[in-house]
Symmetry: C2
Subunit: 349 residues, 2 copies
DNA sequence: ATCCCTCGTGTAATCGATTCCACGAGGAGG
DNA sequence: CCTCCTCGTGGAATCGATTACACGAGGGAT
């Protein structure tokens, strides 16, 4: 039960609680003798300040909330890891909330985080219009969007721009002779959902290729939706030659669907994905993907948020994504493929 | 700085703060009229109680800490997800700490969680002897070990027993004609690190096969260590015919090393792993693995911990793992492999 | 020697809730 | 009609910290 409090420390050191607090917070001047005795008492009692009480008084928790879209998605766990790393370096803790791509779960977590009086919020919104998020931002909660964002809010955004990489991908695909290209999109309500489709369409347009509705699969960034969308593509009278999945989990689902049909990648159909993850090197075949600078994104997001909290004015950050060619889109020589693999490996290390 | 407090609600409703609190906590009796006005005021003001203040007073946060060994490991994220799910259902929040398999990081997180006065701690210890963990347990912090545990502490353990599955695996490997079997172990300081080796050795002994030291690679549950261990195996004068990785990330590293050598699985060397993950279906080749009932483990762990917190006395839980055969260990007919794959898929859904 | 400033320290208010205790009103029972 | 109990309510203490303010002691300047 216990709970050694500041009073116990004060009593043992023979000083007042104020002095103990001053020693612990290096505030105003304290005599060396008193400091010594306080420190000794802290040590002897194993005293740890109650963070709740401290936060209640100071109105700051030195805690940041991170609403992650889906913990099962390797891209987001990598992001979470770098966010936590940077936050720790800056003296903040992170409290995660897993939204599982469900708006109501997202709102649940935002509410509990706000109730806990976190100092700021890092959000990758699961839907486009959560009023709760916007309200919180307007009410003055320091907030930064990462990866995805909600338009119309005065909130800094840290994200990557995949347009150039998508153009590179389309050039690569076109070069391999593919003309019928399909995409599995994320939810239209998310920015990454709609942007990636737009980028793909634009890149296709440069080659005079259209993107018919039948070649746009509606996914939700989860594996099952990738499977369904791919099944639909394969059932088409004229199926696409390439499927581009807007995230890694939908690519996994696409792979499932293709394998279930008894088809082979890239011989029967090519596959590429947004978001590169370590497993893509070892899938059958290794998958061509668009890699985001995940670690930098996480770091930049935390810096932007702490800037906001500490009174500085951060700017939005946009970092370029890049194409990583493996051989899921067409025949390449073994050496070329190996080279690409090694290059990826090296840059990931 | 904003902050609508209980006083504001009380003022607007024309009652005292005590009454507001009573309404919000459904405590003693409140007249319907007063309750009505309080609720209206709460609604109008958008009042949310300050969780810090409440926790300070009540000495409970309704928050559980989860120390996860490595967020980048799909096994642990799956565990984290089910833990959060069950906790939410029981009215608790989860605060995660990622230990990255580093004891000092683990201790850092435990300390901050304790400072926050979480109600209980779910730990999958990164090392065997963290004094901090043991001290916390002895000091009365409700605690449950999950997956891994530290011997000699009076703490319930929720884990899976892989011994039967390892026996099945060895039988499978033996049946395919393999006789030189190696293992990439986790850190000896972790229970899962040493237990899996012991189970493997026992299972081999049943076939009169020894496990020489040269066939035990020392890993740390991270991909890089799997790579190094595998390289060492392959450089042996008599390399093993099978490599069994004690977790999925080390299996990924093994795959890297094997590919870098220009060898093929299972033709040149067979590979199996502990922990099954969705990607294993699509690696080249699909990997034979031992699957843990991850979701059940997470749920059971949370229930054990909340039992402890709420004064009931939970028991340790051990659930069996099971072998999932794919074709990374030897030739199988396509149909058999497909059947296995489908079976896995179905049970994962 | 006196005055004033600085330094070290303690007392008490405060953060925002919960909850013990006291108190007045009203109904039931005698 | 008086007593007693219950019900609804408010006042105030409390949780464990931080911090404004006050105050005494000591040193330097005049």
């Amino acid at each position: 039960m216990a709970g050694i409090g500041i009073k116990d420390v004060a009593a043992r050191a023979g000083v007042s609680v104020a002095t103990v607090s001053r020693v612990l917070n290096a505030h105003t001047s304290v005599s060396p003798a008193a400091r010594e005795r306080v420190l000794a008492a802290v040590e002897a009692l194993g005293y740890r300040p109650n963070a709740l009480a401290r936060s209640l008084r100071t109105d700051q928790t030195r805690t940041l909330g991170l609403i992650i879209s889906d913990v099962l998605n390797p891209y987001f766990t990598a992001l979470a890891r770098s966010v936590e790393e940077e936050a720790r370096a800056l003296g903040y803790s992170i409290v995660f909330g897993n939204a599982d791509e469900r708006p109501e779960l997202q709102d649940h977590h935002i509410r509990t985080l706000l109730d806990r009086r976190i100092d700021g919020l890092l959000v990758s919104p699961a839907d486009g219009g959560s009023p709760l998020v916007l309200d919180a931002a307007r009410a003055g909660t320091p907030m930064v969007f990462v990866d995805r964002w909600i338009p119309g809010a005065d909130v800094p955004v840290v994200r990557s721009d995949g347009r150039a990489a998508v153009r590179d991908l389309v050039a690569h695909l076109h070069g391999l002779g593919h003309r019928r290209l399909a995409i599995i999109a994320g939810p239209a309500a998310t920015t990454t959902g709609s942007e990636r489709v737009a980028a793909f369409r634009e890149a296709l347009a440069a080659y005079g290729i259209a993107l018919p509705d039948a070649y746009i699969g509606q996914g939700d960034f989860q594996a099952a939706s990738g499977r369904r969308a791919t099944e639909r593509f394969l059932a088409l009278p004229e199926p696409p030659e390439v499927v581009f999945a807007a995230d890694n989990l939908m690519a996994l689902g696409a792979l499932d669907a293709i394998r279930a049909r008894g088809l082979r990648v890239p011989h029967d159909i090519a596959l590429a994905a947004f978001d590169d993850i370590p497993w893509f090197v070892h899938t059958d075949p290794p998958l061509t993907a668009i890699a985001q600078p995940t670690e930098e994104l996480g770091r930049a997001a935390v810096r932007a948020l702490t800037d906001l909290i500490e009174g500085r004015t951060p700017e939005s950050v946009t970092l370029p994504a890049r194409l990583v060619v493996r051989n899921s889109c067409g025949e390449r020589t073994t050496t070329a493929a190996t080279r690409a693999t090694l290059a990826t490996r090296r840059s990931d290390a």
